[in-house]
């Protein structure tokens, strides 16, 4: 899955869940295992950043005065 600006958190999470499912069901070939894990890792990073930025946004919205502090 390509990670670009159009990717949403939901889509990323959906893909992540799929990967976990495939792993659980042992549907991933050993030959592509590391690349799959690599993709998952990228998605996780993407989600994490998305969450962090959302949290920042929310803090700014809720408490605009505290913007400079955190």
């Amino acid at each position: 899955m390509e990670i670009n600006d159009k990717l949403t958190y939901e889509e990323a999470m959906q893909r992540l869940k799929e990967i976990v499912g495939e792993l659980e069901r042992k549907e991933v070939k050993i030959d592509v295992l590391s690349s799959t894990v690599s993709e998952a890792k990228s998605l996780v990073e993407f989600c994490r950043e998305k969450l962090d930025s959302t949290e920042d946004d929310i803090k700014k919205i809720i408490d605009p005065e505290a913007e400079g502090q955190t």
Binding site: L23, K26, V28, A40, R48, E55, I58, I62
Partner: protein
């Protein structure tokens, strides 16, 4: 009969009878009861007709004489009025008498004495009976419930106008100067004799219809026997039932008559009745005078009390209306305060609700982000665990299994080959003819063929026989068959 007759003159006969009576009864006194039928007085002497009856039939009758001499004696004992009352037709009397016979006047009863108790007893007995009857009919106290007017002005007067009692009453009534505007309606009646009772009854009934304050019944004295007319039940009934109060003034000394008992009030004499009427008027006037003063006093006091109460009420009006307005003013202030308090409280409550909502919002948002972070972390961990697990599985099962399979299958194959090889070896051992030759057996062939397999005649053929040590070539001279089985044996 005429020859033998002894003729007496009447004088002789009567003389003889007189002698007989004198001898027979002489001075003897007899007590005899009899009813007086008739009384005639002449020159102080009383000539009575006495009788006795049973079941309304006369059973005896005699004339009797009370000589003036005896009369006076009796009168001293009984009283003139009473004696006159007793010696009246219809009365039962107990006489003491002597029987006399007079040649000229015939048989005569000479009354010497009278026992009045006998006559009175009869009256009293009758009176008690009437009283009982009245009591049973609840008439005794009927008049007592009527109210006597304070001023008795109109009087229905029942009595005998010529009697002294009647005169006494009028004299007493009109002699008073204080009040004499009486209106009197007289109902004249006889107060003795047989007609007295019916006349009295109708007079009372008539008087009751008259516009009067009271009915007054008068009788200026009389003997006990005379007054007995007032013991009559019908008269008593009429009096008791009268709508007007009845006052009685029946002159007597001791016992009350029945009329007295049923009347509203009774007095001993007619004069006493008049005196009472006067007294009542006088005392009423006095009371009225007193009342008047008191009324004026009361009225004045009442007015001042009323004035006071009134001023009081007036003040109350001011006070209470003021209080009420004040009360409502306070009430109001309270309302106003309540409105402010409640409204402010609503605003504050709303602010608190809002603050809560904001807190919840922030909390939930943070929680959402946190949850997602946790989920992402968990996901990564899942991936790692699953990938590593996959590799481990591959290692443990696929590879190790393959090696084991290869090993076991190849070893197995080797073993199987070994078995096949050994089988061939065994077979080889079994087929090796050296072994049989060593044990003493021989192999005989004709031109390379086992002698047993050669067809045709054997005789003359060249037979090669192999032993363990030699190969012998010989010529067959004869053939002898043995058992077929034995033939196969070598």
């Amino acid at each position: 009969m005429a020859q033998n007759r002894k003729v007496y003159s009447l004088s002789q006969l009567n003389q003889s009878l007189e002698n007989h009576f004198t001898t027979k009864f002489g001075e003897r006194t007899f007590w005899v009861t009899a009813e007086v039928i008739k009384v005639n007085a002449k020159n102080g002497n009383f000539y009575l007709e006495l009788a006795d009856s049973k079941n309304n039939t006369m059973t005896a009758k005699s004339s009797a004489t009370l000589w003036s001499r005896n009369y006076r004696v009796i009168q001293d004992q009984v009283g003139a009025t009473e004696l006159q009352g007793i010696l009246k037709p219809g009365n039962n009397v107990l006489f003491a008498l002597k029987i006399t016979y007079h040649p000229v006047y015939g048989l005569k009863l000479n009354i010497l004495d009278i026992d009045p108790a006998y006559s009175y007893g009869a009256i009293e007995k009758r009176r008690q009976e009437v009283i009982e009857k009245l009591r049973a009919a609840q008439l005794l106290d009927k008049q007592k419930s009527l109210k006597l007017p304070a001023i008795i002005k109109r009087i229905a007067l029942i009595g005998s106008p010529d009697t002294s009692g009647f005169t006494d009453f009028n004299d007493e009534l009109f002699s008073n100067h204080a009040f004499n505007k009486f209106v009197i309606k007289v109902f004249p009646v006889r107060v003795q004799g047989e007609q007295a009772v019916p006349e009295l009854i109708s007079a009372v009934k008539e008087a009751a219809c008259f516009d009067a304050d009271v009915i007054v019944i008068l009788r200026g004295g009389g003997s006990k026997m005379d007054l007995a007319i007032f013991d009559n039940f019908d008269l008593a009934n009429t009096i008791a039932s009268s709508r007007l109060p009845v006052l009685t003034g029946i002159g007597h000394e001791t016992d009350r008559v029945v009329a007295d008992l049923v009347a509203h009030s009774f007095f001993k004499t007619p004069t006493a009745v008049a005196a009472y009427i006067h007294y009542a008027i006088a005392s009423y006037k006095e009371i009225m005078g007193d009342l008047y003063d008191r009324i004026i006093h009361r009225a004045q006091r009442l007015i001042s009390v009323e004035r006071e109460e009134f001023n009081h009420i007036n003040r109350y009006l001011q006070h209470h209306s003021g209080t009420m307005i004040q009360y409502w003013r306070t009430q109001f202030q309270q309302f106003e305060n309540e409105v402010i308090t409640a409204a402010t409280s609503i605003v504050h409550a709303s602010k608190r609700t809002q603050d809560n909502t904001i807190h919840q919002l922030i909390y939930q948002v943070e929680r959402t982000v946190q949850d997602h972070q946790n989920e992402v972390d968990r996901m990564l961990e899942d991936i790692k665990v699953n990938a590593v697990h996959l590799i481990d599985q591959e290692r443990k099962f696929s590879i190790v299994q393959r090696i084991d399979q290869i090993r076991s299958h190849s070893i197995n194959q080797l073993e199987r080959y070994a078995v096949v090889l050994e089988n061939y070896n065994d077979l080889l051992d079994m087929l090796n003819p050296h072994k049989m030759l060593m044990e003493g057996y021989t192999i005989s062939t004709i031109e390379g063929t086992d002698v047993q397999d050669v067809a045709g005649a054997l005789t003359g053929q060249t037979l090669k026989t192999l032993t363990s040590k030699q190969l012998i070539t010989s010529e067959i001279k004869a053939v002898k068959n043995t058992t077929k089985e034995d033939g196969n044996q070598r």
